[in-house]
C-alpha cells in the first residue's frame, strides 16, 4: 500500500505478554483435545488474565472493521482482497470469530506477526465495545435488520450504540445510505462517506429511528416525514456502475460471488479500501477475484449431485437468496437451526416468502425442520422432512444439481461435515 506509513512497533505490557502466551498454550491444548482450532478458547484465557489486552494488542495496527446484520463475511473478504491488491499484508478474522475473543485471537496469532493491516469482521453489538481500542479505524456499516431478536432486542438499540461510540471516538466511516437505521447510527461520526447501494428490505425501518415518525420512500430515496433525517448523498451504485457524488463512473463492480446484494457489498468495500489507500479501480478488480467466502457460494459434489452452498441468516438474507434462485428448478435442501447464534425463535420463517420455492422438490432439514415444514405446509409447498445430516441427504439425490439453503449454524455444520474449512 503505497501511501501507508510503516506500522509503529507494537509494545505490550508484561501482563499482556504473559496472558497471550498462556492463551496460546490453552489453544494448543484445546487443539490437541480435538476441540477445533482452539484460538478463541486461548483468547478467552488471555482476556481473563488481562482484560485490557485488546487496547494494547490494537496499538500500531491500521484497521478496517466491517459490521452490520448481513454481508459481514463477504464484505470483509472483499475488503481484504482489495487491501492485498493494494500491496498490504492483511490479517483478517474468520467468520464466527467476530466477537472480542475472536479479534484478540487474531491479533495474538502467528499469522498476524507479519501483517501490517487488519481487516476485522465485527459483530454488530461487539463493534461499539471494541472500537475505542483502535486508532482512527475505517468503519464499514452495512445494514441493520431483524436477526436474533432474543439476543439483540430491538434493532434500533444497536443503531443507538453505534451512534454513541461514533460520537465519542474518531473513525473514518463508510456507510450504506439506503438503510435509515445505518444513516442514523452513523449520524454522530465526524468523518463519514455514504454509499447508496439500494435496499430491498425496509420492514425494520418504517418508523424513524430518530423521532418515531414515519419514513416515506420512493425507489431511490427516503426521508422522515417529521424530522430532518433523510437519505444522504455520496457514492451511488446503479447496476454495476459505481458513481462518485459528482456523477462520474469510478468503477464497474463484478464481484466473483453472485447476487445483487453482493454488488452493494462490493461498493462499500472498494470505497472503504480507498480510505485505506487503495485506488478504487484496484479494489474493483480485487472483488472480482473473490469467488467463495468460508464455503459460501461454493459448489461441492456429493454422491451424484453437485450442490451449490447458500447461506441466509435472517429474513433479509433469505429474501436475497430466494430472489437469486427463483428461476431454478433443481431440488432445494433447506436446513434451519435455532441455536443461540441463529436466534432461538424461528418465527422469522413467516417473514420469508418460501412460496417462491413452489414447483421445486423441497427437503426440510436441520434441527428445526418441523418448524420449516409447517411454514411450507401453509405456503402450500410440499416437502419431505429429513432428520439426518445434510451430507447423508445429499448422497441420496438422483438429480445432478442441488441447492442447499441453510441458516447460520446449519451452514456451519455442513461446512464442517464437508471439511471445507
Amino acid at each position: 500500500m503505497p501511501s501507508t506509513p510503516p506500522r509503529r512497533p507494537r509494545r505490550t505490557s508484561a501482563r499482556t505478554r504473559v496472558a497471550a502466551s498462556l492463551g496460546r498454550a490453552a489453544s494448543a491444548l484445546s487443539r490437541r483435545l480435538g476441540r477445533g482450532s482452539g484460538s478463541v478458547v486461548g483468547a478467552r484465557v488471555t482476556l481473563a488474565l488481562a482484560p485490557g489486552a485488546l487496547d494494547e494488542l490494537a496499538t500500531g495496527w491500521r484497521v478496517a472493521t466491517v459490521s452490520g446484520t448481513n454481508g459481514k463475511s463477504t464484505t470483509t473478504a472483499f475488503l481484504r482482497a482489495a487491501c492485498e491488491a493494494g500491496g498490504a499484508t492483511v490479517a483478517s478474522n474468520i467468520e464466527g470469530s467476530n466477537l472480542r475473543s475472536g479479534v484478540v485471537a487474531l491479533l495474538t496469532s502467528a499469522r498476524a506477526k507479519d501483517a501490517d493491516v487488519a481487516v476485522l469482521e465485527m459483530d454488530e453489538l461487539a463493534l461499539p465495545t471494541m472500537l475505542p481500542s483502535f486508532d482512527a479505524p475505517v468503519v464499514v456499516l452495512l445494514n441493520l435488520s431483524r436477526d436474533q431478536l432474543d439476543r439483540f432486542g430491538e434493532v434500533r438499540t444497536v443503531a443507538a450504540r453505534w451512534r454513541d461510540v461514533l460520537g465519542r471516538h474518531p473513525a473514518v466511516v463508510v456507510a450504506n445510505a439506503d438503510d435509515p437505521l445505518v444513516v442514523w447510527g452513523a449520524g454522530t461520526a465526524a468523518d463519514v462517506t455514504f454509499v447508496g447501494v439500494g435496499l430491498r428490505w425496509r420492514l425494520d425501518a418504517v418508523s424513524c429511528p430518530n423521532c418515531g415518525g414515519r419514513i416515506a420512500s420512493t425507489e431511490r430515496d427516503w426521508w422522515c416525514e417529521e424530522c430532518e433525517l433523510r437519505r444522504p448523498t455520496g457514492y451511488e451504485l446503479a447496476g454495476d456502475e459505481l458513481r462518485s457524488a459528482d456523477g462520474r463512473v469510478v468503477a464497474r463492480l463484478q464481484p466473483g460471488v453472485p447476487g445483487a446484494h453482493n454488488v452493494g457489498n462490493a461498493a462499500l468495500a472498494v470505497v472503504a479500501a480507498e480510505k485505506m489507500g487503495v485506488a478504487i479501480d484496484v479494489g474493483a478488480q480485487a472483488v472480482a477475484s473473490v469467488t467463495s467466502v468460508s464455503g459460501r457460494y461454493g459448489s461441492v459434489t456429493v454422491g451424484r449431485a453437485t450442490a451449490r452452498l447458500l447461506l441466509a441468516k435472517n429474513p433479509a438474507g433469505w429474501r436475497e437468496l430466494l430472489a437469486m434462485t427463483e428461476h431454478e428448478d433443481r431440488p432445494a435442501l433447506v436446513a434451519i437451526n435455532a441455536r443461540i447464534a441463529d436466534g432461538k425463535d424461528p418465527s422469522w420463517l413467516w417473514d420469508v416468502e418460501y412460496e417462491r420455492l413452489h414447483g421445486r422438490k423441497v427437503v426440510a432439514a436441520g434441527e428445526r425442520a418441523a418448524d420449516l415444514a409447517v411454514r411450507l405446509h401453509y405456503a402450500e409447498v410440499p416437502c419431505e422432512v429429513w432428520k439426518g445430516t445434510l451430507v447423508e441427504r445429499l448422497r441420496a439425490f438422483d438429480e445432478p444439481e442441488v441447492d442447499v439453503l441453510a441458516n447460520y449454524t446449519a451452514f456451519a455444520d455442513l461446512v464442517r461435515e464437508l471439511k471445507l474449512v
Binding site: 431478536l149 432474543d150 418504517v206 425463535d345 418465527s347 422469522w348 413467516w350 411454514r375 401453509y378
Partner: protein, 238 residues
C-alpha cells in the same frame, strides 16, 4: 354466494416484528382448505383501517412503532369494528395496544385502545423463551409459543386469562397468560401463535363461520409434539 371472510392484517410494517403476519395466512388457509373463501387485507400505515372485516390480526412490534400504531388505530375508529363484534387477535405489542394503557418508548404511560381490561408496565428485563399455557378458559389443548417481551400485563376485573402458565412468564403477573373478552384476544405467544396452535385458530374462525370440519394437521402435530417436549421435558405425556 356469500362474501369471502375478510382478514385484516393491521399495519404489518409496524406490527410485524416476529413473523406474526403468519397468523393471517394460517386463518386464510384453514378456511380455504375447507372450501370457504377468505382474503387477507394488509392494512398499510397510511390506509384507512377497513371497518367491515371479520377478523383483525395485530402482531408484535418495537416501542416507537407501537405508539404510532395506537395513534393511527384510534384516529381510524378501530373501536367501531370491535363494537360490531369483529374477532380481534393481538400478539405482544398488538396485545398491549388493546389494553387500557402501556408504557411508550419515552417511558411515559400511554393510553391503549381500551378494548381489553388490562394495563402493561415495563418489567425492566425481557422475558424470552418457550411459553406453554394451559388454556382452561378457552377449553383448548396446551398452547405453545415463544415469548419475547419486556412488559408485565395486569388484568382488571373484566378480563379473563387463557389459563395458567406451565413454562415461561406469559403476562408476567399472577402466573397466567393472555386475555379473552368476548371475541377479542390478546397473547404473548409468538410462533406464530396460530401456526403452532391450530385449535386456537379454529376457535377464532368458528366465531365467524360456525362449527368447522377437522383438517389433517399431522404436519403441525409433529411440531407441537417437538416443542412441547422441548419445553416440558418428561412432564409432557402425549
Amino acid at each position: 354466494m356469500t362474501e369471502p371472510v375478510g382478514i385484516a392484517l393491521v399495519f404489518p410494517e409496524l406490527l410485524g416484528t416476529y413473523g406474526d403476519g403468519g397468523n393471517a395466512l394460517v386463518l386464510q388457509r384453514r378456511l380455504q382448505w375447507r372450501g370457504i373463501e377468505a382474503r387477507v387485507i394488509a392494512v398499510g400505515v397510511d390506509d384507512p383501517v377497513p371497518s367491515s372485516c371479520d377478523v383483525y390480526v395485530l402482531g408484535g412490534g418495537e416501542d416507537a412503532p407501537q405508539t404510532l400504531a395506537t395513534e393511527r388505530l384510534t384516529a381510524h375508529g378501530f373501536d367501531q369494528a370491535v363494537a360490531r363484534g369483529a374477532v380481534v387477535f393481538g400478539v405482544c405489542a398488538g396485545f398491549q395496544i388493546l389494553g387500557r394503557s402501556f408504557t411508550g418508548a419515552d417511558g411515559t404511560q400511554q393510553p391503549g385502545l381500551g378494548v381489553l381490561d388490562c394495563t402493561t408496565r415495563p418489567k425492566g428485563t425481557r422475558m424470552i423463551g418457550e411459553l406453554v399455557v394451559e388454556a382452561t378458559a378457552l377449553q383448548l389443548p396446551l398452547l405453545t409459543g415463544f415469548e419475547n417481551h419486556g412488559g408485565i400485563t395486569e388484568l382488571g376485573a373484566d378480563a379473563t386469562p387463557f389459563g395458567r402458565v406451565l413454562v415461561g412468564s406469559g403476562n408476567g403477573a399472577a402466573g397466567v397468560e393472555g386475555v379473552v373478552t368476548g371475541r377479542v384476544m390478546g397473547t404473548y405467544l409468538h410462533g406464530p401463535a396460530l401456526a403452532r396452535n391450530p385449535a386456537l385458530a379454529d376457535l377464532l374462525l368458528s366465531w365467524v363461520v360456525g362449527p368447522l370440519e377437522p383438517l389433517d394437521d399431522h404436519v403441525v402435530d409433529r411440531l407441537r409434539e417437538e416443542r412441547l417436549h422441548a419445553a416440558l421435558g418428561r412432564r409432557h405425556r402425549g
